[in-house]
């Protein structure tokens, strides 16, 4: 394991999103705030999802997690597709990186971007509504696991895609629908039985549900089940990414 090389690639990937922070951090924070203002204003007092929790408070963890995971996905996928399309991918294919070193660097940078956006949304929500925290470790664990899973998915999408619009399709037809249907804006227990079962098959639901447990100490599904789903997804996606990087899928034989 070459730690200097891994750290350098991680730091290059972090520098990349840090240099355009208005677009990569501030913009998603503002979007999350708009959701919070609009949905909170419209539905506050009309819906009570968990006993003793206002709708705006209920909304915060979901919106926060949505911002974290969408940005983790965006970081790896956009970095990979940009380097491929512009040809600068050779700068990381020529040095002696192992698949694991590349994986850790890309994922690490994406997690850091996800968390930076998360901290931004959290601070705004904290001053706007006030946020209660039941278990900070659960919150951190799900934030890191959620961004890890989505960063790995973004890396796979970036390796697979050959054009920018393929990434956009991946986001529009997979990531956004699965996120919106994962209980960001509602509790899945309020859904009809069929959609309730469908929601339980959506892995994104477990990211949001477990994360929400850290805030309220209550969730639709047991937190350990959510944790197990996240860990399993992490293992599967790590294996997938490392194998793809090792084989040079659409990178070394294009």
């Amino acid at each position: 394991m070459n730690w200097i090389a891994t750290y350098t690639l991680l730091s290059k990937e972090v520098t990349r999103w840090r240099k355009v922070w208005l677009q990569t951090v501030l913009a998603p924070v503002v979007t999350a705030l708009l959701y919070l203002l609009v949905f909170g204003h419209v539905l506050e007092g009309r819906v009570e999802v968990f006993p003793g929790v206002s709708y705006t408070e209920f909304l915060i963890p979901g919106l926060l997690m949505m911002a974290v995971i969408q940005n983790a996905f965006a970081n790896t996928s956009s970095s990979m597709i940009q380097s491929k399309v512009m040809g600068s991918i050779v700068f990381i294919l020529l040095p002696p990186f192992s698949a694991l070193e590349m994986f850790l660097a890309f994922i690490g940078a994406a997690i850091l971007r996800g968390l930076a956006v998360g901290v931004g949304v959290f601070l705004l929500a904290y001053f706007y509504v006030g946020v209660s925290i039941e278990n900070i470790f659960v919150i951190l664990a799900f934030a890191v696991l959620g961004s890890y899973v989505m960063a790995a998915l973004g890396l796979i999408a970036g390796m697979w895609a050959e054009k920018f619009d393929q990434i956009a399709s991946f986001q529009s037809f997979l990531i956004v629908p699965l996120t919106f249907l994962s209980g960001v804006f509602y509790s899945i227990t309020s859904l009809p039985p069929f959609w309730y079962q469908m929601s339980k098959a959506n892995p994104f639901f477990y990211m949001i549900d477990g994360f929400r447990y850290g805030f309220f100490g209550q969730s639709d599904q047991p937190v350990l089940l959510s944790l197990a789903v996240m860990l399993s997804a992490s293992v599967v996606l790590t294996l997938g990414c490392v194998l793809m990087l090792k084989s040079g899928y659409k990178l070394r034989d294009a």
Binding site: N2, I4, A5, S11, T15, V90, P95, P96, R252
Partner: protein, 317 residues
Amino acid sequence: MTQEIPANAEQQPAISLRGVTKRYGKLQALSDVSFDIRQGEFFGLLGPNGAGKSTLISALAGLIRVNSGHISILGADVEKDYRRARMNLGVVPQEIVMDPFFTVRETLEFQSGYFGLRNNGKWIDELLEQLGLNDKADSNMRKLSGGMKRRVLIAQALVHKPKVLVLDEPTAGVDVELRQSMWRFVRRLHKEGHTIVLTTHYLEEAEELCDRIAIIDKGKLLALETKQDLLARGLGSKLLVRASHSIETIPPQYLDRVTRLAGNEVELTIHRDSDSIMQILDGLRAASISIEYVSVLNDSLEDVFIRMTGEQSGVRA
């Protein structure tokens, strides 16, 4: 990371290719290519567009995987021992590529770190100086001209002090001044002991710089010889004859050798091994051509190249 070189490193070829074959669907990009490039050589790799030069370079840089065969850099297999192989190899890609987020110095510092090197600032400063990039060190890559970007690519290839440097068409689209300063720097690297592998479309560059030259076409190795042997392949020279009067008729036995006939000058191809210049001149005199001046012009590398690649494609040069 340390670069361990085996004890017999001096005898090892800088680059060794054995039975290298690469197919893209039905296209045979490389067909059973085998040869060695010795340490310290200035080696030219020539071939027409689509001959397989860039495929060969991509294969030895590990950018593509070959279907069969083995490639090693200073004894390290590019797939099994890729870390050591890549530590010893610097590649200047043909296309001008860059990461638009960073400055020149950041680009070089990151590239240095990718090879596991920390505190490489002194060598980076030297590269910036040698390649005339000092003024641009803190400029964003996007703001550089094409020639400047090309220099940064060379610096990136050298940032880890590789023993073998591959330049894939480095002077394509580069102005004369930059081309000359680039060659001065590459010559210096060669003098310092680096092995240089060059592909170029400017055959006069290869003729001037390279010790040995390989010509490939349609993925096959057509020739691999020293520049002198290649030029003296016995294939040809030209005989220029100037007469004291306008030349009206050429003896029929020499008609198929005429490459140019203008006024009182005629140019004929001759085969150095089998032709007698005196016999040809006697033949011309017999046709009432009064010879005033005679000159023998040796084939240039371009003539040899065109003839060889033309024969390969069935076209007579």
